[in-house]
Amino acid sequence: MALFPRPASAQETPYFVTYSHRLEEPGNLELEFSSTYAAQRGGNDFVAPWLEIEYGATGWWTTEIYIDSQHTLGDGALFTGWRWENRFRPLMREHWINPVLYVEYEDVNGADKTMIEVVGFDGEADHAVRNAVASREHLHEIEAKLILSSDFKGWNISENFIAEKNLAHAPWEFGYAVAASRPLRLAATARPCNFCRENIVAGVEMYGGLGTTDSATLSGTSHYLAPMVAWQMPRGVTLRVSPGWGLTHPSHRFLLRWGVTYEISGFGGKVRKLFR
């Protein structure tokens, strides 16, 4: 238990796809288990769980590992790859609009269905391929995002511009995500409470593809609208749930995402003590 001394409670946004400018507090470790369920036309519905391990390296740098998997009904379950992302805040102070630079390396296979971002012409048809066939394709990709985010009168408003490239001679793919959220109550109450409005954050996000360098168009791209709610429970646990609906024909008709987050305070300091 020496490694897990104090659960923490951080500033969470409820988003699943969109990033805000809030980074992990320095030295804190956040573990998150999330999942996407999708209704699939022309194939079987699937659930795609992923594990996130996020660490606040400094006040301006957060690094994170993702481990992806999926289970397609009637087609089995498999590990689909991993991602390593880094987010940097170039400005050390808070501004009206706060930029964050995001860089990610992905080593996943073609059966990955987590849909953590939607870019290019990603669509429902990509997920109708059987696992045995799709998993033969290995994708080594880099992804960059420009994250712009603002906090104003209790609201968070975030915009992400996404560029992703398969390193195997594929064009750049583009996407976007925008979101807004707000706690249901701004001021805290004097008494401790668990299931109360001050601990619940509600929001909505919209995300989708913007084509590629070869074909920068909205035609044939997927777009989703997803309200969500997060409940910040005691002892550093946050629950999130978000139903989402596809807005265009290539989109899945329905998505359901959920996740649980556990934040551990002072993790980095405890690890360092082990090596002294």
């Binding site: 320095p26 006040g59 690094t63 050390m92 102070r93 808070e94 906090d151 009168k153 001021a187 002072g266």
Partner: protein
């Protein structure tokens, strides 16, 4: 194999650097950087009026928020620990409430103080109301 080894090596290097990064923070014996950052608050913040001043409920709410969000670094008694400053020190206690609210929003990322802009300003005022009772 090589194509997997390069990212893995980068990953290991990053993890080591990340673990070392936090260790590079100064101890709470050196508050000057943070105190200087508070002093850089816009002059107008000194005139901001605390909407919760003197309200017992706000003090209680501020204490609840402090224990939830701040005590993990600054200690339950607010005397600071490791890299976090002593919030009972004159530099903090003599700052205007508005300067502290501004600093909570802005943070000092370079020195490890997160920005708490994601916390509604009402809650930041409640925390400052509580901190001012520690004088």
């Amino acid at each position: 194999m090589t194509r997997h080894a390069i990212p893995l090596l980068l990953l290991l290097a990053s993890a080591a650097f990340a673990a070392a990064g936090v260790g590079g923070q100064k101890s709470n014996g050196d508050d000057r950087g943070v105190l200087r950052a508070i002093a850089e608050a816009p002059v107008a913040t000194r005139e901001w009026v605390n909407p919760y001043e003197g309200q017992a409920d706000a003090v209680a709410a501020g204490k609840k928020l402090y224990l939830r969000h701040c005590a993990e670094c600054h200690g339950r008694d607010a005397r600071g620990s490791g890299r976090a400053v002593n919030l009972r020190s004159p530099g903090v206690q003599n700052a205007a409430p508005g300067e502290l609210v501004w600093f909570l929003r802005s943070g000092n990322l370079w020195r490890g103080m997160p920005s708490w802009s994601g916390m509604p300003v009402e809650r930041r005022w409640q925390i400052v109301t509580y901190l001012k009772t520690l004088r």
